[in-house]
Assembly symmetry: C2
DNA sequence: GACTTGTAGACGACTGGTCTATTATGTTAC
DNA sequence: GTAACATAATAGACCAGTCGTCTACAAGTC
């Protein structure tokens, strides 16, 4: 087995188990056994479990980043519609796994930020990137005049992200998609009402 | 030392450590050593670490519930102002501990919901109660006519809670109060604009 | 004195991450 | 074709730490 294959196998299986059980609750033994890779190999590919954690975060970050890009940069669709589609995608994805696993980045953030500074910083970077992607989509919406020109897109993007993470947490703890749907509906309603700006004559 | 004292000491010290480090990352040994209580006593008061987890959740739930009640049921202040004050209190509390620990209920939810059904259900109950307290405050705001009469208070309360948890997560991962302040401002702005209801003209 | 309530901490079985010694594989030189 | 070497990969021991159990003992109460 080539070098990258083995390493990638460890990351993939590890990501899967960690997503379901958490970082601390998932032992290397379990990951390696599930992947059919001997224990000794692990420390050939990773310096420590902490380093492995970084790789796991990168793995999740890449997946989510691609999803964000795919939906939020789709020039064929108006910006706010893209956001809607993104949520629709996540809703379907969550339901496929019983709404029980939540957001891997959010999970790891709360579990590890308190005890590991390196992982915390890494996670913070990932989150910032995702928020920036949202903000950039909102900027397009502004040019599109579907949101007010004086709206602070950075703040709004952050608010959306926070709401998203909170909704996914709620979803996970009750194991139902409903809290996520509630969030999505609330947000879409918000965007529907935010424009045209109040009292100034409706958009013609 | 009377029965309740020892037990309470374990819970208090445990809650403190678990809040900072997480449930799995905190061993019984560490808690008991920090509290100066021998190991043997633990299993006199608790059947298992899982049962101890239930007690910890109850402990946090009681504290937060009291805070919610104190602020949200304060009849001397208009409902929406109470909400504002509640956020102000949390902001100060977060800063006092370096914005690094987050919400204990949120932390435990994401860490444990995936692996322990009993704890998950317990956490879900606590969350439902908190949302209900928010909703009840919003109901008062409705009677007060500071929010539209057709607003769904249950949905809105849930949305606020989700945003809150997401903001606190964000705060914890960047170790800064800013994300929380952003959330608070955004929400207050929302309430400022939601009423009086928009002429019902636009968007039609 | 007998019973309950609580303390004390050694002990067990097991799992955690880590490390060193060793084997397999591949490449090059002759 | 094979000897020499370097790198890729494995095996499993290692010890600290995990939760949980157990027996022995103190103190207080009837």
């Amino acid at each position: 087995m080539g070098r990258t294959n083995t390493r990638e196998e460890i990351v993939r299986k590890g990501a899967e188990l960690i997503h379901a059980q958490g970082f601390n609750a998932t032992g290397l033994q379990q990951i390696l056994q599930a992947a059919g890779i001997p224990k000794g190999s692990f420390y050939f590919y990773f310096k420590s479990k902490e380093d492995f954690g970084l790789a796991i975060i990168d793995y999740f970050s890449a997946i989510i980043g691609e999803i964000f890009t795919h939906y939020l940069s789709d020039g064929k669709i108006p910006p706010l519609k893209r956001l809607e589609k993104l949520f629709g995608f996540f809703e379907a994805a969550f339901q496929k796994s019983g709404n029980a696993r939540g957001c891997p980045i959010g999970n790891l953030s709360l579990e590890l930020a308190g005890t590991n500074e390196r992982l915390r910083l890494h996670l913070a970077g990932v989150i910032e990137t995702l928020i920036a992607q949202l903000a950039s989509c909102l900027e397009e919406a502004k040019r599109d005049q579907s949101i007010p020109s004086d709206l602070n897109t950075a703040d709004t993007a952050r608010f959306i992200f926070q709401g998203f993470e909170g909704a996914v947490m709620h979803m996970k703890v009750v194991k139902s998609i409903e809290p996520f749907q509630g969030f999505r509906n609330f947000l879409l309603e918000y965007f529907k009402n935010i424009y045209p700006p109040r009292l100034s004559a409706p958009r013609g």
